[in-house]
Amino acid sequence: MAGLTKSDFKNPVVNWIDTRLPVFTMLQKEYGVFPTPRNFNYLWNFGALAMVNLVIMIATGIFLAMNYQPNTLLAFDSVQRIMRDVNFGWLIRYVHQNGASMFFIVTYIHIFRGMYYGSYKAPRELLWMLGVVILLIMMATAFMGYVLPWGQMSYWGATVITNLFSAFPWIGPKIVTLLWGGFAVDQPTLNRFFSLHYLLPFVLVGVIFLHIAALHITGSNNPLGIDVKTPQDTLPFHPYYTIKDSVGICVYLIVFAIFVFFFPNMLGDPNNFIPANPLQTPADIVPEWYFLPYYAILRSVPNKLLGVCLMFASILVLLVLPWLDTSRVRSARFRPIYRQLIWLWVLAVVTLGVCGANKPEGIWVVLSRVATLYYFLHFLVILPLLGKIERPLPLPESISRAVTGKGGGPLPTGAAATMEKP
């Protein structure tokens, strides 16, 4: 239906624009008065933190690209030049480098929050699946970004990860040659990785837009996991959650700054200070910390194809998580058994991470096999069965009753989110 929007904004310029392109009305609706459950805890900050992190990565990345050379002969030196010669180049690069780790910390906590409070359950299945797609794109972006400095770990990481695809029978080697644009990781590989590393963050922006659009259709989950029933259960997004998110952003920036200014290379690998040498593999090949659990799963299986398949499956299984979990109760708060087992699953993931950081010998092989087994057991056996046998605790009648302890809860005048315009 065509026609001008009726805008309630008083400012004539804002009103003029809003009538023709209702961005202000939309912002007001989606981020101003947007009715948001009143009982969020700080775990609900992490989506916003991930957004901020993406913006930081894109901003610093654009300025790094102004000085980076995607050429095997120049790449390593151009990164050193950024660190030594470019004004604030050290800062921009360390923010970008540590920003990748921060991005994964924030995103993993965001995912854990979704799992703990059952945010993936109906009607938020598609929202969750888009999140898994975001994770996959993030991982691809991070991997290709790590190749760009063209150090030893960049080169051999690229070699190992691209060689994963060679596990697939017949078509595998052809895929690998296609990825490389040659017969080894070389100039064409570096050049295309740079191109894709620049592209994918903007694809991320698009998928995140869909993720948020879906979120604003279903509305947010909350720590109780029960639906919003009345306006008394909600608060307007602004100022309540803009402020709460701001507090989280301050803490996040402090942690980020501690990494950047005091431990900028703590999460990096010393081998990446050595320029890439295609004729010499470093003694220890380890991926970045955020890939360690998947790496451990890969190594825990003695069969090449099976290992690769399990590694991919460990993420793809998240796509079907909404249907594997048969319990209709969302929040772990009301699932006495799940509430314990989710931590066992976290322990399995952490164990896998530690195993991935160690050489695959002795106890680490056994541990990584047990943890891999439990990782999949959790999704494929425990979750489907648990929903049938677990007796959930009684759910509160409403969010406001649970929060205030009173029926409906007398909110301060006008604090409940309503759809009225300012």
Binding site: G32, V33, A59, T60, F63, M66, N67, R81, R84, D85, V86, N87, F88, G89, L91, I92, L235, P236, P239, S246, P412, T413, G414, A415, A416, A417, E420, K421, P422
Partner: protein
Amino acid sequence: MADPSAAHAQPGHPADPSKRDFLQLVAGAGAAIGAGAIAWSLVDSMNPSRDVLALSSVEVDLTPIPEGQGITVVWQGKPIFVRHRTPAEVKQAEDTPLSALIDPQTDQARVKAGHAIWIVVVGICTHLGCVPLGNKPSDPRGEYGGWFCPCHGSQYDVSGRVRHGPAPLNLALPPYAFESDTKIKIG
């Protein structure tokens, strides 16, 4: 829309909106300063880097330049004309009345004292940035025997002063000094 100031209004403790204004201003100013500091580091990264600044001077040996000819050297990515003028050209440049010039400047002001046979100018036309011709004897040098810009026909004399538009200004002079009679350092 909710009135935040009402949220904590308690009997006996009336809400004081001025405190909120203060907090809002302090928080907003803090965020603005932080964002500005970050933005500055990003913008400043586009300024010349240390390795670019390190290339800020070049030395030129004058001995191979024959009388009546010039060479082009690169300084900070720009062409610099170093020309060995004949005594006749020097005299012609010195005798030119200032009234005949578009951008009046004496020849003495454009060369180093005692080294009038050497003229050193930035070889970038002051019109729109082309590199004028005229260092080689085979190049067109224009009516005034200096340099001729092929882009829009500006003409410069042997002192690098503009004599025919559209260029508005004389060819710029780079900072340089004679290290000996046969060597200069530009920058």
